[in-house]
Every structure is written in structure tokens, then in C-alpha cells.
């Protein structure tokens, strides 16, 4: 029975993620207005949700609904791309560490420790502030800051893989290391990597939203959910809807990936 429940989790999560992807892909069709142009003269005086503008308009006269929809594009792009980088680095480090052991493991793990000792958000902020915010710098930074978790988990899995009979046998037969890693270890470690990818995306999404909120995300007028919330803080008393809707969007996206990852993970474990 619990297996069914876990299935349901993954299914719900998967549906949420799918819906997000669809919204991002079909944003130009779904969004009623251009997210960067003013559609109502509400300068400095945002207007509440109405029939014409279901999520209201912001202080620059733009339609909030359209901005939330287009925001999915940036968030997904950053979230997924950053996760890809995170996983790439993390898997590389983890595989090498676990497989080769010894000095390689030692050095890589010490490097990981140093990275972990650094406060992730502060480091991300510092690097982005230095490199100046752009899509690429955000991706780079989030990837650089998040790979350690993946590395550790992959290393642990690799370690346990390495002790398995078939790997020992293959080694004894003289198989070259790269082939061993790619043919034998990686496929078995793959499932956990997939899970880390899903969970990792929720993490990178949150980190990206945090950076946007702090003013270090993709520059305007590209709508990003985090920045929308930040721009809304000035008006949080008179126009709270400006903060509520983008926040729900972030919540929805992150929850979707979490459910998906968690559901798949639990299935695998049982």
C-alpha cells in the first residue's frame, strides 16, 4: 500500500512539473499581454486583481499574470541548467573520489569540505555581484555552489558499488578505469543521480529565487519570480497581491520537483 502512495507522490510531482514546462513553453500563447510593456496607466499605483487583469497590474503598469507566466521560462531555464551543471560537476567529483580512492579521494573531499564551510548564499551573492548579474553568471554561480551535496552522495554510492563483486572481478580482469566507470559504475549510480537531479532542481530554483530577491538575478525587464517579490516589497501594504502570486508560483514549482524527486526516491528504496 505504501508503494502505491509513493507512486502517487511521484505522479503528482510529475504532473506539476509537466504543467510548469508546458506553461513555460507556451508562454507567448498563454500570456494575455506583453510582460514588459505597460498595459495600464497605473504608474506608481498598482491596481488590484480585476476581470481585465486577473492578477492585477504592477507599479509600472504591467500585467502581473503575464509576468508570472513568462517568469516560468526564466525560472525553469535557470533551475534546470544550473542543476545540470551541479550534477555534472558533482557526479564527476563523486565518481572519481569513490572509484579511485586514496589521494584523489582525499584531495577532492578536502576541497568539498572547504566549499561546504563557505556559506553558500553569501558566496553566490559575492560572485554574482562581482561578475554582474546575467543569465550565465547566475547559472555558473548556482552550479558552483551546489555541487557538493551531489558529490558526496555519488561518492557514497560509488564506494558501495566499488566493493561489489562484479566490479572487483572486472578490475581483476584488467579492464581500464574509464571503461569501468562508464560501463559498470555509472549505470548503477544513475538512479540516484536522477533523484538528485529532481531534488537538486528544487534547490537551484530556490537559490535562484533568493538571488533574484536580493537583486542579483537576471536583470530587468525580464520577469523573474524572485525579483517580482522584491519589487513588491515596497508596496506590500498597499498592494500585497504583487507579492502573493509570484510566491505561489515559486512554491508550486519547487513543491513539484520535491514531490517528484521524493516519490521516485521512495519507490527505488522500497
Amino acid at each position: 500500500m505504501s508503494g502505491m502512495r509513493k507512486n502517487r507522490l511521484a505522479a503528482v510531482g510529475g504532473a506539476m512539473v509537466m504543467s510548469l514546462v508546458l506553461v513555460a513553453l507556451f508562454a507567448p500563447v498563454l500570456a494575455p499581454h506583453d510582460p514588459t510593456r505597460a498595459v495600464a496607466p497605473t504608474y506608481g499605483d498598482p491596481s488590484p486583481p480585476s476581470l481585465a487583469f486577473p492578477m492585477g497590474t504592477d507599479q509600472l503598469g504591467r500585467d502581473v499574470l503575464s509576468r508570472v507566466i513568462y517568469g516560468a521560462r526564466v525560472s525553469l531555464t535557470v533551475g534546470v541548467a544550473a542543476m545540470a551543471m551541479t550534477v555534472a560537476i558533482g557526479v564527476m567529483v563523486g565518481l572519481m573520489s569513490g572509484f579511485f580512492g586514496g589521494a584523489v579521494d582525499f584531495v577532492l573531499m578536502r576541497l568539498t569540505d572547504v566549499m561546504l564551510a563557505l556559506p553558500a548564499l553569501l558566496l553566490a551573492m559575492a560572485v554574482v555581484a562581482v561578475l554582474r548579474p546575467s543569465l550565465f553568471s547566475i547559472l555558473l554561480v548556482i552550479g558552483l555552489v551546489s555541487w557538493t551535496q551531489v558529490a558526496r552522495v555519488v561518492r557514497a554510492e560509488t564506494l558501495s558499488m566499488v566493493q561489489r563483486d562484479f566490479v572487483i572481478a572486472a578490475r581483476a580482469l584488467g579492464a581500464p578505469s574509464p571503461r569501468l566507470i562508464l560501463r559498470h559504475v555509472l549505470p548503477n549510480v544513475a538512479p540516484i543521480i536522477i533523484v538528485m537531479a529532481a531534488l537538486g532542481t528544487s534547490g537551484t530554483l530556490l537559490l535562484d529565487a533568493a538571488l533574484s530577491f536580493l537583486g542579483l538575478g537576471v536583470p530587468p525587464p525580464t520577469p523573474t519570480w524572485g525579483r517580482m517579490i522584491e519589487e513588491a516589497t515596497l508596496y506590500f501594504r498597499t498592494a500585497p497581491w504583487l507579492s502573493i502570486f509570484p510566491g505561489i508560483a515559486i512554491f508550486y514549482a519547487v513543491l513539484g520537483f520535491n514531490l517528484l524527486g521524493y516519490g521516485v526516491l521512495s519507490r527505488r528504496a522500497r
Binding site: 506608481g44 499605483d45 507599479q59 536583470p219 515596497l234 506590500f236
Partner: protein, 537 residues
Amino acid sequence: MKRGFDRIRAPLAAILLALTVFAVCGCGDGGDGAIFPRGAHVLRIADVDDVPTLDPAAGYDTESWTFEQAIFDTLVRYGDDNVDLEPDLAESWEPSADARRFVFHLRRDARFSNGRPVTGDDIRYGIERVLDPATGSRGMEYYRGIAGAADFAAHRTAHVAGIETPDPWTIVFKLDSPDPIFVHKLAMPFASAVPREVVERWGEDFSRHAVGSGAFMLKEWIGGQRLILVRNPFYFRKDLPRLDAIIDSLGVSSELQWLKYEAGDLDVVAQIPPAEFPYVMKTPRLRSLTRKKTTVTTQYLGMNCRMAPFDDVRVRRAINYAIDRRKLVALLNGRGVVATGVLPPGLPGFDPQLKGYSYDPALARRLLEQAHLANGFSFELWMRADATALMLGQSIQQDLALVGLHVELKPVAWGPFLEAIRQPHTVQAFVSGWEADFPDPENFLGTLLSRRQWGANNDTFYFDPNFQDLIDRAAATTDLTIRYRLYDEAQRIVLSDAPWASLYYPVVYAIVQPWVHDYVLNPMRPTRFERVGVSAR
């Protein structure tokens, strides 16, 4: 090893523990508290950030100057709500005819809050601190014109030769070249009288233990939380200050300040938050409590005249016609005045007859066509990374998109922003503002547009020989009428050449409680607290 708990008790105990910790921790620093006896005249204000410093040599921002003005005195100062010079520590002064020698006569009854009388030496010490590179003061450049300043800064002499104190109550300044506005530079907090013994005692922590001769003295400063001033018992102006104390709560956001004001917990809100502004203006009771000033500041979009395509004057004029300045002011809820030129109102020499550029996108397009840029172009617009700048930047982005120009906003931190705009080939266009340091057109037309300021403050790298000649002649002219006329001619040239697209002059609205009296705004300086009074609430 933990003993087993009953199934409910474990979580419950944990929650109770949490609550206890919480309650204990919460008894941290209280709010204002009853520090002063009832009936004391206390003004409660607040700041969004911590005050950066109280050291007159170091401070160069509104918050620092607000308190430096209250704690320290200078030889001369401005009126409460105007920019006319009046005596402060100096009772009288005589400039020489050639504007190279200035003699000041000090009053004899001024004393520091530690009781010691103020003499000319204290002024000299203050200025020497500013000129000393070890202090790292930003005010150095204002006093470099004093004879012997360079030698002093290079540690070749023990004192600045051009500052003489023949007796304790006289101080003489000798300049290398004529400077008709030198006296204004002595009205800046950089030139405050500073007690040497206190600085030597506290060294680099002087800011935390500032002692001056002003109306107030520092009582307490808890970083990030609270700063308290109390009256200086030795202040030379009789019956002033009217307040017993000023309590400044630090780190209070503008929204929170507003709510405290509404609750009666705050006496002054120095800047009404944008979100509340429309409501305040619509409510007569509140509107009557506001105080406003048009700051002597110009916000502008600067274009690098040495970088294509802004080296073409037609392009620069097109940008001027393409920007909807009234929309910018609307975005600010009316807290601005559409800019017509380089000089802001309130600056002597401002010409109210000057008509700036109108909003004419069609004309802008035609100019771009003439410049063979009918297809438009894209460029990066650099600006400081703050919320207002970004909002206005997005509005400009929208405007320029309508004439076919694609703008990328580049919000950058202050340090790198300054550095970048000073490079000749890095930044094509930027948004910035300039606040008057002293009431003279030289501070704008000279400092920001002179050939000699390339790589320093002339970040548009503008140069025109006629313009340069006019401002050079004007700077040396002591006759004010002729001086302003020359600057006016110069400004017209600049307007036509359009290295700038002047955007607006910011207007600041403050609001006070009904029981606060005589709180006035000065166009160029923070408010003085001496004459402010509070009656019973």
C-alpha cells in the same frame, strides 16, 4: 543515552523547551524604553540603515551629515531653510578682493561639549585631518587649493602653510589661486572644529566617541540599533537647542517607519514611502503635516561622447526627445520636477526660463534616421543597483523601445559603477544623479562637464572649446552677476550639445507629527535640529 519518553511527552517537552528558550532570548534589547524622564523634550526619528560615521573627515552622505551638523560646528553655515551663508563659529569674515586670502574672526564663547573653548587651531586641525591621506577623507579635493596643502599631504611639513592662526580667535586662509566660492567650502562638515585631544585619545574609533562644539552631543550609539544625542550644555547659542534629546532608531525600513508614525511612536518620517504617498496626499489631515523640498539635485542619463553611436549629437538629441519625463515623475508619484537643464532649481544661476527637451518620439525617430540609424541600435544602460533606479530604468527602456532602440539595463554596485563610468571606453550610457555640494553653478557645469574632469567626474567625456572657455572665465569671476551670466551661456551650449538627458529634480517629502514644531527642510543640507521643538503629545 536518552531514556524512553511517553509518546506524547517527547514532542511536548521539546516544544516547552523551545518556548522557554524563546522567552528568555526575547528579553533582548527593548525598544525605545523610558530612558528619559517624563516631560523631557525628545525627538524620535529613524533611519533605514545604520549611520555610517560621525567623523566629520569621513562622512559624505546624508545620514552622517545630519548628525555631524548637530554635533559639530563650522566657521560658517547655511540658514535653516535656505543656502545663504551666516556666521557660525566665525562672527565675521573678510575675503580679499582677489579671492585668495580669507580672514575669519572667531567668537570667543564657543566650547566643546567637554568644556574646552574652541579656537582657530581646532578648525585648522579639522582641515588638516581631511587633507591627511591617512584619514582617507573624501573631502580632500575641496581644500587642496589652500597653499601648502600638497606639501602637508606628502608629509613634508607638519602643518598646512596656508592656514595661519596668528591668535586663538583669528584664522587666515591663503589659496594658491583665486576661488570666489571658497567660503562655501568652509560650510561643509569637513571643515568642522575638531578637538585634537579627543581624536588622539580614540584614534580610529573617534567616530564612536565624537565630541564637538555643536548644539548636541553624542550620548549613545549602539550599532544597527540606536543613536542618541543630548543637548550640549556648553553650546554658545543661548536657549538652543530646544530639544533635550534626539533618539534615532536605526535599521527601520521606510514602511515600518510609516507604521510607527501612524501609531504615534515616531515623530518624523524623513521620506514618506512610495507606496503610502498617494494616500497621504489624498488625506487633508496628513497632507497638512508634510514638508517638502525640491532638492538641489539633478538626475540625468549621461552619454559617452567618445563612444559610438553617442558621439553623434543627433543621437544624443534623439534620446532627449524620446524619453517621457512626465511618466518618470508619475512613477515617483509626483516626487520630482521634470528637468529642463543641467542646473537644478534652488541653485543660484538657475534659469527658470530655460525650456528643456519636449517629449517627441516622432522627432526622435527622424533624428535617428538623419544619423543613418533608422534601424535602431542596442546599448547597455548602467546604473546603481537600487530599486528606484531600476524602476525608472525600466520606464526609459520602454520609451526607447518605441523609437527602435534596445536598451539592456545593467545594475551595478556603487564601487564598480563609479569605476566603470570613469573609463573612457567602457560605458556607453549611464543613469546617475548629482547633488550640489555648494550653491554655485561651478559645482555642476565645472565639476561634471569640464575637460579637466575627464576620468574623474566628467563621465560623459564631453568637451567643447567655447563651453570650456566660458566656464573657465566664470570660475575666476567674483562679480556674481557676470559669473552667473557666463554660466548661463555655457549651459545653453551644453543643452544643445546634449551630452546629458536631464531627467528630473527629486522632490523630498517628509511628514511630522502635529506636536513637532519648526521642523524645516533645507534644500541642500539635512535638517537642523536646533530650533525644532516638541510639545506635549
